[in-house]
């Protein structure tokens, strides 16, 4: 062995260390691992004095209920349903006021432009194209977000998410996936790109990939308002008004449930085929319940989530509104481009219980899921005659009356929105996280395949049974 003065290389140091380890007696060997824990315990004993009971009765009782195999899952589902119900009930009215005010501005501005003798295409592009897209996004998305996000954040701050992960752990284990995947799904409720990054908390590369590939089955901030709105307009309207809000909330819970089921199915399939392996064990800490700081919750959920999502939706909706207006007003061989494209996509849309315009909207909305419904509406109102839409009930009349939407259309749209390919940001994040074209492609195409498959089956079955 070299002296410290000579030239040394890395291998020699390691060999030396190995040699030293072997030369240590049994007691010292054990000491290596134990020394830190022993010191920590000693310091702890000197510093902390426990006076009386450590756990509050309340905490213990809550945990017994929330993480019990019997009551844990039902309570979880019920809580989500209650949150959604509150959102749906409370969002309706402000949505109508906003729609009324914002579309009023559109009309008045258009008239003003006419008086100023502005060219028709400028009025059309600016007010009936760009502005209308913006007005749609704000009026249909802002109220539900401003209610849903704060309530969800309160639950998060309270310490509910780790309990959800705890309850879901058994299911994930059965599917050969990691229990912490439930936490990445919790992140996915905010944003799928964040959920994909959050998969870093999973150490095993195999289980991490499963979490990354399936994260898009959790509806994100951008898709939740779409789901809530569709449930509100179609599901709620399909039942007696007393039950309307419950049916709508139930429908969204059902969609989220379908998302969870697909997460589990796809995880199970992946872990039995291309990502074979055993689920690894882990320690999940259940943090204490903490009283949420209401002001901070309001701040983070309103500014960081609501305004952020709205801002993203608006900046995406403005160019999309412009594109839609152009597609609707550039005529080739007597038909607008929208008609051409929607017509070409119609057979595919029809097969999936949707229509050509919806598929076109999904293609335009790849950069941001937030704008799918606004794009659909813009495409409709551009392609056809101008229709005044004030509030959700008129919107329903428009879609049902003019474009023959049925409950089946709404259900298929909700399913497609839940299961389809992630937005471009998420796809980019998957690539950044995996550095693999193969996994990125799978992450984008697999959900798309699932969405097409599921909506096809649902649509065909429903039609065969004579519904829709």
């Amino acid at each position: 062995m070299n002296e410290a003065g000579g030239i040394i290389n890395h291998k020699e140091i390691i060999e030396h260390a190995d040699h030293l380890r072997r030369s240590l007696q049994g007691a010292s060997q054990e000491e290596l691992a134990q020394a830190i824990y022993r010191d920590a315990e000693n310091i702890f004993r000197r510093v902390v004095r426990q006076k009386g009971d450590r756990y509050g009765e309340w905490d213990r009782l809550l945990d017994r209920i929330l993480t019990s195999p019997l009551t844990g899952l039902p309570i979880m589902v019920l809580l989500l349903a209650v949150i959604l119900w509150i959102t749906i009930i409370a969002a309706n009215y402000p949505s109508q006021i906003l729609a009324h005010a914002l579309f009023g501005i559109e009309n008045r501005a258009a008239i003003l432009f006419e008086q100023w003798k502005a060219p028709w295409w400028l009025t059309g592009f600016l007010w009936h194209g760009v502005y209308r897209g913006l007005a749609w996004v704000v009026s249909v998305m802002l109220p539900p977000m401003a209610i849903f996000f704060p309530v969800f954040t309160i639950l998060e701050d309270f310490g509910f998410l780790p309990r959800v992960a705890f309850n879901m752990d058994r299911l994930f284990q059965k599917c050969g996936a990691h229990g912490k995947q439930a936490l990445t799904m919790g992140m996915g409720f905010g944003c799928n790109a964040a959920g994909v990054i959050a998969a870093r908390i999973i150490d095993s590369p195999r289980e991490r990939l499963i979490a990354i590939l399936t994260n898009t089955f959790v509806p994100c901030n951008g898709r939740f308002p779409t789901l809530i709105m569709l449930a509100n307009i179609f599901v709620a309207a399909a039942v007696p008004s007393v039950w309307a809000s419950f049916a709508a909330a139930g429908a969204v819970v059902g969609v989220v449930g379908v998302g969870v089921i697909f997460t589990l199915i796809v995880s199970a399939v992946l872990s039995r085929t291309i990502l074979k392996g055993e689920p690894s064990s882990f320690v999940l800490e259940l943090p204490p319940y903490r009283r949420p700081n209401i002001l901070r919750v309001l701040y983070t959920s309103i500014i960081d989530r609501t305004i952020f999502v709205l801002y993203r939706a608006v900046i995406m909706a403005v160019p999309a509104g412009g594109v839609i207006w152009l597609l609707g007003n550039i005529y080739v061989a007597g038909e607008s481009l929208t008609s051409w494209m929607a017509g070409a996509l119609q057979p595919l849309g029809q097969a999936l219980g949707l229509d050509g315009v919806i598929i076109l909207a999904y293609i335009i909305a790849i950069p941001a899921n937030e704008i799918v419904v606004p794009v659909i509406l813009m495409a409709y109102t551009r392609a056809g005659m101008m229709i005044e839409v004030e509030g959700l009930s008129e919107l329903r009349h428009l879609l049902v009356g003019e474009y023959h939407w049925s409950l089946l259309t709404a259900v298929c749209l909700m399913l497609f929105s839940l299961l389809h390919n992630p937005c471009s940001t998420t796809i980019l994040t998957i690539w950044k996280e995996t550095r693999s074209v193969k996994w990125t492609a799978l992450g984008a195409l697999m959900p798309l395949g699932v969405a097409v498959g599921v909506t096809f089956i649902v649509a065909q079955t429903a039609r065969a049974l004579g519904w829709g």
Partner: protein, 278 residues
Amino acid sequence: MMENIKKLAGCLRQLTCGGGDACPGNWRYLGVDLTHWDYVVALAGNPNTGKSSIFNALTGLRQHTGNWPGKTVIRAEGGFQYEHKRYKLIDLPGTYSLLSMSADEEIARDFILFGQPDCTIVMVDATCLERNLNLVLQILEMTGKAVIALNFMDEARRKNMDIDSRRLARDLGVPVVATVAKTGEGIRPLILEAVNIVTGAVKTQPHKVERSAALKQAIEELVPFIEKMCPGLPSADWIAVRLIEGDIGVREALLSGRLASWGEKKDLKEERKKGPRP
């Protein structure tokens, strides 16, 4: 327009989150403006101990916070300015130890080891101190430039725990500050302590884990080799212990040359510090 929204949001957040007024005078949020920093401060600790809350309070940024472990998976960076010195603050992922091989533990360990922060603030959950102390002791083996933030003191009181923070400071040999991150309580003294460490005004005597004579001898035998290879590395003792224990991650760092190239990284850091001030 977005600038104004951001500014307004900044004011709102000071009002609602209490970070702003908890900070001492001569204070300025730098957010993500990380040019020309003078000092680097790292935030380490167990998961869910309030690191991101403190990070947000100090930098004016808005890292995701919430009551569950594992939120921070990437190294978040932000800045603040205090008394004409610019500080870069690194929010490390929460870990229970720095010994195993998981990705987040490696990020945290590598930063404390190779990033050589001028001060490491270790966030500690006062309500489960014993488990948290394991990480504290591991960090103190690596660096003496540390301050302990004893967070959730309000909860500890509610749980009928009497915590002698002065005794803790004496035993650990580094400053200990009691904080309640969510209200901003204690942030000001915490920063003053951190600044004292950074400027060298306070010298610490970090607790070293007690080991048997045989083990001590083995460590002493190995340290010269490590120092020879990476001169000036302040945590040569720690690396010796880890190598004798057979830590695969440290072995890897050694074999891949990451350890050896430490000296070059230090020079790089010095250079960046000297860069022109705005």
